[in-house]
Each structure stands twice: as structure tokens, then as C-alpha cells.
Amino acid sequence: MVSPNPAENNGGTALPAAEARALNDVVIRLAGNSQDGIQTIGGFLARLAGRSDQDVMTYMTIPSTISGGPSIFQVRMGTGDILSSGDQADFLVAFYQHSYENHLSSLRPGGVLLYDADHVKPNPDDKRFTAVAAPITSGTVEAVGGSSKDKGKNLYVLGLIARVFNLDVAKLSGLIKERFGGKTEDIVRNAMLAFDAGYAWPADNLRDCFYRFNPPTRTSTRPQVTLDGNSAMTYGLIAAGVRYGSGYPITPWSSIMEMLRSELPKYGGLFVQAEDELGAVSYALGFSYSGHLAITGSSGPGLSLKMEALGWAVMSEMPLIVINVQRGGPSTGMPTNVEQSDLLQALYGSHGDAPRVVLAPRDVEDCFYIAIEAARIARAYSTPVIILTDQALSSRIEAFDEPDLAGLMVDPAPDLSARPADFKPYPLDRITRHAPPGSRVGSGVYPTVTGLEHDELGHPTGSPQLHTKMTAKRREKLKALAATLPAAEAFGDPEGDVLLVGWGSTFGPVREALNRIRNSGTKAAQLHLRHLNPLPPGLEDVFRRYRQIIVVEINDEGLYGYGQLATLLRARYANPAIRSLTKTDGLTYKVSEIVNGVTHLSARNGVPA
């Protein structure tokens, strides 16, 4: 072992507070290759933060190559509200020369570069950062010994980080043991050896760079849970009483289907891996028709395939949940990048007038709650509901208050009660409530669910009057839903120069950008839309109170200069103050990109910002 001071590492003795600089939050970027277990360190840090009642947010890139390749994990932890994963890193760990070269630009001037002395030769003339060399590879090999080579480097680095940031070693060791506990004793022991060696490494040139987090400011009495967006969505579906589903693998949707495949049987349900996405949406609609509200999902290409069946769901008024984990498009596009370019497809993707509900979660916690809301709406309005999440949310880890499950769980039992003699599957004066097979109908006349235009009993019709009335029926129920939605509310100045409008995963960066814009003296507010179809009431009134309405989205400005939500809002509200801030680099918004974009647009439009 390289430990110069073994006594200190055992109990995780904290450094005297006087030596450590107080911190509110820190951004740590880990850059290496995917096989180095970088996600594992990030995951540990995120969960530690969650357990310590700190806020946390992570950001990772997974290489789209089959195995290996450069990979990063960025974790931001702190004691206030953490809204984005951070524009610039305070601390960069570089495992390789390429990690150093590609990611140094993400480090803020004055930040700390910690690099593996065995692999990286930094530029000695670069004085912008505090460069700290650590024998990450050889230190790990020496500590663990045996045949494991440099496996365990990630835990060595975790030890180093624990030391530098004065992290709770007892809690971290607990997490390591929980994580590897199911495996052989050797694995836990090796992990702890590597961790201790990293913790004990005498980072002397770091002496004046030790940090300590300010005490947490959280007031909630509920414990924090730490998980990624796809997991939150999965558990939300389960809480919502969804027990059946079907899908086909595609990144970054797959982890939802994989979790459902192993979780649902415990709850008496099942998930079918179908032959393709057309099959998957069809299995799901079969489940829904049989009385069990079902879920299907995919990303870009798979959503395109589901569109015909989605139109059937609209026409037959079949409840269904469809999750789209958006990625860069079109076509196979950028499978491991983020984009919000499927909004118009979600609203209008099938042929014909096919109105359906579209929702978008704003952060990881919201993935859980929006799944519950989607299920409630699908059942109450007998309609397909699309949830537009995205690649960034799918893998981002956040800590949030544990949900009050007892108050949220929904009973999944199908309603097979006998229907009265006047039962109609498609009544013109009411919202459809299907009678699943197995339920008796008093009249002895059984309903046919259909994708042909139909009369109230489900018989096909070519009647112009009926097509007009039935089209209205399918539209009006979404208007009825709109009337029940909470009115749109802006956060920030009640009136002023700029209203930032966003949807989906950009919520955090937009909020941070808003804070900066307001701090610089501009009167501004944020309006974040979770309900994209139908839109909530009251938007007109909010829009009227700001000189500029800037819609921030990760998609293209299109032929006419407006992103997809901006296009929709301009069409709906015909308000010329609606402008558009878009980008198409496949990455989440940096706060500075939004602030600069707003400044630029404001200057162009002669509005102070």
C-alpha cells in the first residue's frame, strides 16, 4: 500500500475545518473510457449526496460504439437547489491523455485538474489550473495486487475525491459494501483496498485545496432517494397501477423495458418483448382492450413505426401510455445524444385528425409523477397519452424526496362489471368507457372496437354527419381535459421584459439562466410546460405581461426560424412577441448558452435584457 498515513484513513477522520474551504456546490467531471467504471464513481457520489441530504444532478455521455471508447460522468453536488449539471467543472479527473485533451476546456480557470500520472502528460506551461498528479493506475495495482490489473481504478479515484472534498467515508464505505455485497468477499475487499489507497494518497500539493460542504439547507422530513429518469418513470408506472406492456429494444428507451420485464411479474403483470415496435404497440393495445391499461415505448425510429397503431388508439378511443425517450434524429440520428425534436410528431404523427395527449416531465422526480398523471388521464379520457422524455433525463441521476407511495398507489383491477342494456362504446354525449371482454352487456349486444369511422355502437359508417360528430367527440374530450388543468403560471417577475418558455428536460438550465438574468437587473420569468397537448389554460394572460417570450428548446429553428414549441405557440396565440432559441448540437443546454441567447435576441429586438 502507498498509504503514508494509514491511521488517518481507517475511521475517515475528517480534516480540521479550518483547513478546508467551505463550498456550496461543486461540479466534478470524470473523464476516461467506459470500461473504467466511471459511471460507478458518479453513481456513488450521487447516492452519497442523496443520503447526505444534499442536492445532486449528474450528466453522462455513453459512447455509441459497441464497447469501450471515451466516456464521461459529471456530477454536481451541493447544498442549495441544484438545477443543472453545471456548465463548467470545478474539478476534472483525467484518466488518459485523450481525456485530458478533450475535457480541459470544460474546467473553469482556477479549477483543479487531477490526472493519472501513469497515463497523462499535461502541458507544464498551462498555469490556468491547479494540476495534481496521482498514480491512479500504479497505485491501484499496488493496493489491490494479484491478477486484477488496474481494475478498481475507479474506487481509487473515489477515495481521492472523498479525501479532497471531505466526504463522509463511513457512508461511502456503506454504499460500496451495499453495491458489491452480493458478490464474493474478494470483490468487496479489493474495492475497499483501492478506495482506502486513494483516500490515503498524500495529495500534498492539494493541501490548500481541501474542501468542505456547507451544511445542507433541506427542510423536508422525507428521506431522499437517488435514481435516474428511466427508473423514476418505471416506478411511476408501477405506482399508477400499470401492469402490462410491450416494447422492442432501442437506446435510450431499453432500460425502461428491461426494468418492467423483471419488475412487473412481482406485481402479477407481464411485459412482452415484441418482434418490432408495430408488434409492441399492438400487444400493448391488446392488453388495454382486455382491461389492463398498458404501456409501450421507444425512441425516434420506433416511435415512427408505432404511428399507425397510435391512430387506431385515437379512433377506437383506447387508453394507452406511449413513452418516447427522445434522442437525436431524424432516422437513426444520434442514438446517445439528446434532442427535443419529436414534439410535432407526438402531436401530429399519425394520419388524419388524431388528437392525443402529450406530456413532458421536467426533471427526474417529475418522471415519476408524470407517469402517474399519464395513467390517470389515459383512463379518465380513454385516450392514448404520449410522454416525451429524453436521453438526458433517461440517464441523469438526481436526488429527490421519497414519494408518499401509500397515497399514490392505484389499484390495477380491470372493471368487468356488467354493463346496462343501453351500453354504447361510443356515446356522443359522454366520454367513452369501454367494456372489456368478459363483461356482460345487458342488451346482449356486444361492442366492436374499431379503427373505421363508426356510430355510437361501433358499426362502420360513411355518414358525413357522424364523421363530423365523432371527430368532434374525440377533440372535445381533450378540451374537457384542458379545462381541468391548472392554469399556467410563471415563476419570477410577474411582468417584465422576458418570459422564458421551455418544456421537458431544459427546466433546470432555464431556471438557472433566469436567476442569472434577473440578478443582472432584467425583469424576467420562466414558464415551463408539462402539458403540451392540450396546453393548459391561461397562457394568453401570462404571455401578455412580457415584452418578449423566448421559447428555449433543443431542436432546429426550421425553415421559418422557429423551434417546434415556438411554432405551435405562435400558431395558437398569434403573438408576435414569441421568439425562438434553439440549438442542434445534441447536448443539454448550458446555462450560459441560454443567457447569451437571450441577450442576443433581446438586442436584436430592442428589448433590454
Binding site: 442523496g50 443520503r51 428521506p223 431522499q224 432517494v225 437517488t226 435514481l227 427508473s231 416506478y235 408501477i238 402490462y244 410491450s246 419488475e263 411479474p265 412481482k266 406485481y267 402479477g268 407481464l270 412482452v272 415484441a274 418482434e275 418490432d276 408495430l278 408488434g279 399492438s282 400487444y283 393495445l285 391488446g286 392488453f287 382492450y289 382486455s290 382491461g291 389492463h292 398498458a294 399507425e308 397503431a309 387506431w312 377506437s316 421519497e402 414519494p403 407511495l405 398507489m409 390495477p412 367494456a435 372489456p436 371482454p437 368478459g438 363483461s439 356482460r440 346482449g444 349486444v445 356486444y446 361492442p447 366492436t448 372496437v449 374499431t450 379503427g451 373505421l452 358499426h459 362502420p460
Partner: protein
């Protein structure tokens, strides 16, 4: 194996009246007069009368095509889905609700062309349902285009000089797909059709029947070679009776896939009857086993307790 005698199953222990054709009849069919599909509908009524399932537990599904209009003419729960995809939909119904009797109807284009891949994959999963393909060797609803079973030389609007793409052999495709009950019948043979539908319905797994059903509008006379009245032969498969007689050695073993494949390769018009009748665990059963095992491990915890324990691990 001998063909099981067709006995009406025991009446369910209820006071309900037996299911009648009258109760099962819905809209008057919109098919062209003389269309083979009328006879299939008639046999479906007859089979359901004999099977006498509780009325509300019967589901009649279809895709899109002339033949797929079926559900409108049957008074049961049911649905008219989209072109080619009715099998995964119906498999979802069966897996979601093991208490139901699910029947699916469709044409050759619906089943073998646009739905061909679904057919293969649903068949190998072996859900409990019965699929009837009304094969008329042509696209009827869209008015005479080439179908995947149209024979070479058949003139259609998309092959005005005669079809030249190799047609599929439905029976061989079905044997290869892993379907566990496969039969072939003819719309002019009412008793045979009824018997096939009943045996398929009583099969525990994925059962499929190809019924040659003439489109009098766009392919009249397509199946005359197997209509005795018109000088053809309706050749029946002789199923093994296991009676120890020397003749039995040459009869067809319906559990033998290779033999079924060989029968399926007989020259046109081929043979009729049961090609395959095998036991293999159904997906319904295998999924139920998975649930039972998972439940055993969770030791009767409620849904709420299960999810709470998951969240406790995320703290």
C-alpha cells in the same frame, strides 16, 4: 393419434341458455354474393354454438381486408384492428386475460404479407388463441392486386401480364413458424371447416387454420381443383389411430413436424385436415410461471410494500 371425437364440452355451471346462432348474429355481411367467406362465418357460428363458451368470454378480432370485416358480423366482444397487426393485438388480449377465448380472422395479404413477420413471432410464442386465414390468393378489398399466395401466371392489376414472384407455401411457413396446431380446410366443406375450427379452439396454444375461400369477384374458380362437385378432389389427411393395424403405419403422425412439412409439400391442391397438433407450453402458462416464481420470492408482499422496499434501496 386419432382425431378426437367432437363432443360439445360441458355446459358452464350457470343457468344461462345455450349459445345460439341467433344470439351470435350481428350485422348482415357486406361480402359479394357467393363469396367463400359466408361459409366460414356460418361454420364459426356452428362451432361457437357447440363449444358453448360463456357469451361474454368470446373475442372476435380481425385485421383489414374483405375477410377481416368478420367481427362486424359476429355478436361477441371484438375488434377491427389495423392491416396485418391483429395477431400481436390478439396475443395481448389472450395474455392479459387467460379466461377469454380469442379468435382472429384475416386474409392472405393481411396474414402472410404485411403481417408475415408478426405471424412467425406470435406463432413461436404460442399464446392461447385461434387464427383463421381466409386465403383467396388475391387482394379482395383493394380489388385484385397480387397476393403472396397468388400463383405464378395469375393476372392482376399489379401483374397484368401474370404474377411471376414465387408465391409462399402457407402450410410450410406455418410449420416452420413453430405454431403448435396447424390445419387446412376449404370453404366448400362446411362440416370439415366446423370440425377444424372446433379442434383449433380446443387446442391449448396457438392454433391456425388456412381456409381456401374463393373470391368470386376477383379470382373465381381458384379452388375448383379441390371441389369434387366441379371435378376436383378434396383429399383428406389420414391421421394415425395408433390401432396397431398395418395401414396405421402409413397414416400421418400429427406430432411429427417433419412429416407435416412433407405433407405441406404435396403438389397443388394438396391435402386437407390437421397437419400438426403438438403440445408445447403456452406463453400464457410460461408467463404465469414467471409471475408465480416472482410472487414466491416476494412472499405475499402487497404492491405497496413491494414498491416501498424498492424505494428504500434507493435512499
Amino acid at each position: 393419434m386419432s382425431a378426437p371425437e367432437i363432443l360439445p364440452p360441458a355446459l358452464p355451471a350457470t343457468d344461462r341458455a345455450p349459445l345460439t346462432k341467433k344470439a351470435l348474429t350481428a350485422d348482415h355481411p357486406t361480402w359479394c354474393p357467393g363469396c367463400g367467406d359466408f361459409a366460414v362465418l356460418h361454420c364459426y357460428y356452428r362451432a361457437l354454438e357447440k363449444l358453448n363458451y360463456p357469451h361474454e368470454k368470446i373475442v372476435t378480432m380481425a385485421g383489414i381486408g374483405c375477410s377481416s370485416r368478420f367481427p362486424y358480423f359476429v355478436n361477441t366482444h371484438g375488434g377491427h384492428y389495423i392491416h396485418g397487426r391483429s395477431l400481436p393485438f390478439s396475443a395481448g388480449v389472450s395474455l392479459g386475460r387467460d379466461d377469454l377465448h380469442v379468435f382472429v380472422f384475416g386474409g392472405d395479404g393481411d396474414g402472410f404479407s404485411i403481417g408475415g413477420n408478426h405471424l412467425d413471432h406470435v406463432a413461436r410464442k404460442n399464446p392461447r388463441l385461434t387464427y383463421v386465414i381466409m386465403d383467396n390468393f388475391v387482394y379482395g378489398l383493394t380489388k385484385k392486386q397480387t397476393s403472396p399466395t397468388s400463383p405464378i401466371g395469375f393476372k392482376t392489376k399489379t401483374d397484368p401480364t401474370g404474377a411471376f414472384d414465387q408465391p409462399i407455401n402457407p402450410m410450410r411457413k406455418l410449420v416452420d413458424s413453430g405454431a403448435t396446431f396447424i390445419a387446412r380446410s376449404h370453404a366448400t366443406q362446411v362440416n370439415h371447416m366446423t370440425e377444424m375450427i372446433m379442434r383449433a379452439a380446443q387446442h391449448d396454444g396457438f392454433s391456425v387454420i388456412e381456409i381456401l375461400s374463393e373470391c368470386v369477384e376477383f379470382y373465381p374458380g381458384a379452388f375448383d381443383t379441390s371441389v369434387p362437385r366441379k371435378g376436383g378432389t378434396f383429399g383428406l389427411i389420414q391421421e394415425k389411430k395408433n390401432d396397431g393395424t398395418p395401414e396405421d403405419a402409413t397414416r400421418h403422425d400429427t406430432t411429427d413436424e417433419v412429416a407435416a412439412y412433407r405433407l405441406a409439400s404435396e403438389p397443388w391442391p394438396g391435402l386437407f385436415g390437421v397437419f400438426l397438433d403438438k403440445k408445447r407450453p403456452t406463453k400464457n402458462q410460461l408467463e404465469a410461471n414467471l409471475i408465480a416464481k416472482a410472487r414466491e420470492r416476494t412472499k405475499g408482499a402487497s404492491d405497496l410494500q413491494l414498491l416501498q422496499s424498492t424505494f428504500a434501496k434507493l435512499r
